[in-house]
């Protein structure tokens, strides 16, 4: 048990726990908060995986902007969660069963392949840093980059249109 591995284990547990918390929390705000914890944990993972830029982007965009948006909407709509019976009684058990199945399949898939130790290969200097990211992003992926900017524009317009009240006479 190396310290790396112990760290990884602890962080993984936190991530899974917060995810489960988000899943089972009755209060929507609590779910949001749990998710924020999860995002934070994932950001740390990014750091461990030599992706500092992405880590910070994660914290800024995801935990910062997106979750705030979520919280805004939760506040707007009311966070109550009434516990009524589900539509079909077999929905929940089946979902759980299928989830377990998927997990088993996934794990089996992973361990049936050969995998490399991450520590064997040391990444290049500056791997995952903003300069490297920027170079690849603006050279190779310029078009998708511009497309995403348009996407963001569309999203903005769409959000505004969708929430507009009926036109006044």
């Amino acid at each position: 048990m190396t310290p790396d591995f112990a760290l990884f284990l602890i962080l993984a547990l936190v991530a899974v726990a917060s995810a489960l918390g988000m899943l089972f929390s009755k209060n929507a705000v609590y779910s949001a908060l749990y998710l924020i914890i999860n995002f934070g944990t994932v950001a740390v993972f990014y750091l461990l995986l030599s992706a500092p830029f992405i880590a910070l982007a994660q914290v800024t965009v995801y935990a910062g902007a997106i979750m705030v948006l979520f919280l805004f909407v939760i506040m707007l709509l009311g966070a109550e969660q009434t516990g009524r019976t589900p539509a079909r009684w077999w929905n929940q058990p089946l979902a759980l069963f299928l989830g377990a199945l998927l997990l088993v399949e996934g794990v089996y898939l992973v361990f049936s392949q050969r995998s490399t130790l991450l520590a064997d290969l040391a990444p290049a200097e500056g791997f995952g840093g903003p300069i490297t990211i920027g170079e690849t992003l603006f050279n190779q992926y310029l078009l998708p980059f511009e497309a995403t900017s348009i996407l963001l524009l569309v999203a903005m317009v769409g959000a505004i249109v969708l929430t507009r009240r009926k036109a006044r006479p």
Partner: protein, 707 residues
């Protein structure tokens, strides 16, 4: 036409088709525009047509004088099927021209007579416009008869045969709404037609057999092959001749199919004269003469024919003795004389038979026409008596006037020789000719037959001799009842003579009856030589003094007997009171035998009981029970229709509606129900959809792993 060119080298044979065209034109003109013409014009056209036919016949005879072998004049093709090729062709030879002359001469005279007779008759019966129809039918008859005698093959002859049968029917039933019970004439016409039909059946069988045996219908080829075929298949020839005999008994009124002729007297008198005395009924005799080459092959058939003729002659003569209707006497006389002719040609004495045919045409035509004159005279007397207010009537006479008066009953006549002298003299000549008194035509022709019979067939000879005795007797009886003595009724007392348009033809016929014997005087044998060109089997009949003497003696005895009965005896019986007075002295003498003769041996009643009623009952049974109840009602309606309906109901309801519709509807219902079930998949719950997606993912992943 210059006289030198009058007779072309080839003769007038090419005129042969005009014997048909003239009557045809006459009848068409009368049909189309006769309605607008007067009686004289209509009669004139018809007589002209008949007269021109006579002229053509004379020209043909003249041509034959130069070319005695005759000629076949074709007109057009009629039937061409396989081996059978029939033409409309005219056989102009001495035999056919003889018939043509006889028919057209007597026919024309009767046409002229009919103008006067029908003028009165249509007024007596109350339908003047029917005058035209009579002459159309008469011309039609001449046309059909000419077709019959001028044809060169059996089938065309049959066309004429049927045609004269049709005209007979039309003319007998001329006054179709009159007669006994308003239908008697029509029934008589029907009887004639149906009885003739039975004979026609025989003729047709003979014709078909001829085709089977000879392969053709034409006279020439048939008679040439007759000997050869007879050697190979004599049975066929026998069949042909015997069935032809059946046709002859129908058309020429021999036993057993003679029954139509007396009833045919229901037609107007000119019809009786022309068709039922002079011409149509002789068609059978003509047929046998024409078929002579066939008959000489089978002596059995010849004997049959001769025997039928002889028996008929005697049988009919005896019936004539007991008849009171003036025309019925003449009708049975005709049957009897036809028996003479048929016996003659049956024995092989073809010339004698044809000679008697011609002579008989003259004197029987004369007798019928004269009887018509007598009847009309008495009718006029009756009218005169009924409607003249000047005559005082006793109570008895007024009473008698309400009874139906029969102008044809000889018991209502008497003493007419004073009232109708011309008619009396011509009638006397005709009657004596019929009786066979020297030197009238009947004597020569009848004697020739008797002479031949004595040589050829003694049985028939004796039958004919006895028949001749009865012939003279009933002739005398008729003359004495009608013309002698005192008038027995007022009508007879006031009878009047007929107009010249009627009496002139009578006089002409009387002359022919008187001098017609010159046709074939023994020694000269004009007619025999004439006929020899066509018939190969003739031989000149020798005059036999014995035969002639015997027959003349018998005739005189019969006439004397008639005189004694109807003058002397009648005078005696007249002294008896009215109730005890018999209507006929012969009845007093013969008693029940006379009743038998008067009722014509009840032959008609026998036919009705034995043949017609069972036949009618059988046909009624077949029609009502078999055809109606069984076939239509049960078989068709119940079995087929109901069965069919049942089947269709089964098919339509059970199968079409039940099965096929069920399948079609079932498909629809199934689709609906399936859709209804599947619809519930769209629950509207998003989580449910997501679950489905998730399930799919898991399944696919699993499949990929396990692969």
């Amino acid at each position: 036409m210059l006289l030198s060119e009058a007779v072309p080298a080839g003769g007038f044979f090419y005129l042969a088709p005009w014997v048909l065209f003239f009557p045809l034109i006459g009848l068409l003109v009368n049909i189309l525009i006769g309605g607008r013409l007067g009686e004289k014009a209509i009669g004139g056209i018809a007589c002209a047509a008949s007269g021109l036919t006579f002229v053509v016949a004379v020209l043909l005879a003249v041509s034959l004088a130069n070319h005695p072998e005759g000629q076949v004049v074709p007109l057009a093709d009629w039937i061409t099927i396989g081996d059978l090729r029939l033409r409309w062709a005219f056989q102009v030879d001495t035999l056919s021209v003889t018939m043509m002359l006889a028919v057209s001469s007597v026919g024309t005279l009767i046409h002229i007579y009919s103008i006067g007779y029908m003028h009165e008759d249509v007024r007596l019966n109350g339908d003047p416009p029917r005058f035209r129809r009579f002459f159309v039918f008469l011309n039609l008859f001449i046309l059909a008869m000419m077709v019959l005698v001028s044809s060169d093959n059996y089938l065309m002859l049959f066309v004429g045969w049927e045609g004269v049968g049709l005209c007979s029917y039309l003319l007998i039933g001329f006054w179709y709404e009159k007669g006994k019970d308003g239908i008697g004439n029509a029934i008589a016409a029907k009887k004639a037609f149906v009885t003739n039909r039975i004979g026609d059946f025989g003729f047709l069988i003979a014709a078909f057999t001829i085709f089977v045996a000879f392969g053709t219908f034409e006279f020439g080829p048939i008679f040439a092959k007759a000997g050869a075929v007879s050697a190979v298949a004599p049975g066929l020839i026998l069949m042909i001749t015997l069935f032809m005999l059946l046709g002859v008994t129908g058309k020429s009124a021999q036993l057993p199919l003679y029954v139509w002729l007396p009833d045919a007297m229901a037609g107007p008198t000119p019809v009786s004269a022309l068709i039922h005395a002079a011409t149509m009924v002789t068609a059978g005799v003509y047929l046998v003469s024409r078929s002579a080459p066939l008959y000489v092959q089978v002596p059995l058939a010849q004997n049959s024919v001769a025997l039928v003729g002889g028996l008929t002659a005697l049988f009919a003569a005896t019936i004539a003795v007991g008849q009171f209707d003036i025309k019925k006497v003449l009708a049975y006389s005709t049957i009897s004389q036809l028996g003479f002719m048929v016996a003659a040609v049956g024995m092989g004495a073809f010339v004698a038979g044809m000679f008697h045919l011609v002579a008989h045409a003259f004197f029987k035509g004369l007798l019928f026409l004269s009887s018509g004159s007598v009847i009309q005279g008495v009718e006029h007397g009756h009218h005169h008596v009924e409607h003249d207010p000047r005559l005082k009537k006793t109570l008895k006479q007024r009473h008698a006037a309400h009874q139906p008066f029969d102008p044809q009953d000889m018991r209502n006549m008497g003493g007419l020789r004073r009232r109708m002298p011309t008619t009396f003299w011509v009638y006397l000549i005709g009657a004596l000719a019929l009786a066979g008194i020297f030197p009238l035509a009947g004597f020569w022709s009848k004697d020739e037959i008797l002479a031949e019979a004595r040589l050829l067939n003694p049985t028939v000879y004796w039958l004919l001799v006895i028949a001749a005795f009865f012939t003279a007797f009933y002739v005398g009886r008729q003359i004495l009842l009608v013309f002698f003595g005192e008038p027995r009724t007022e009508a007879a007392a006031h009878a009047r003579e007929s107009p010249p348009v009627m009496t002139v033809p009578l006089i002409i016929l009387a002359a022919l009856s008187a001098f017609g014997g010159a046709l074939n005087l023994p020694g000269l044998h004009t007619f025999t030589l004439w006929m020899e060109h066509t018939l190969e089997f003739v031989h000149a009949g020798e005059f036999n003094l014995q035969v002639a003497g015997l027959s003349t003696l018998l005739a005189l005895v019969a006439l004397a007997l008639a005189w004694w009965l109807y003058v002397r005896r009648a005078a005696e019986l007249a002294r008896l009171p009215v109730q005890k007075r018999p209507d006929d002295p012969l009845r007093a003498m013969l008693g029940p035998l006379f009743t038998l003769l008067e009722n014509k041996y009840w032959v008609d009643e026998l036919y009705w009981a034995a043949i017609l009623n069972p036949y009618i009952a059988a046909s009624r049974f077949l029609a009502e029970v078999v055809d109606g109840r069984f076939w239509h009602d049960w078989f068709h309606d119940t079995l087929i229709t109901s069965g069919f309906n049942l089947l269709t109901r089964l098919l339509s309801v059970r199968i079409d509606l039940g099965v096929i519709d069920a399948i079609a509807n079932g498909l629809g219902t199934f689709t609906q129900r399936a859709a209804g079930s599947l619809r519930r998949v769209q629950s509207g719950y998003v989580r449910y959809y997501a679950l489905s997606v998730f399930l799919g993912v898991v399944v696919i992943l699993g499949y990929l792993i396990l692969r």
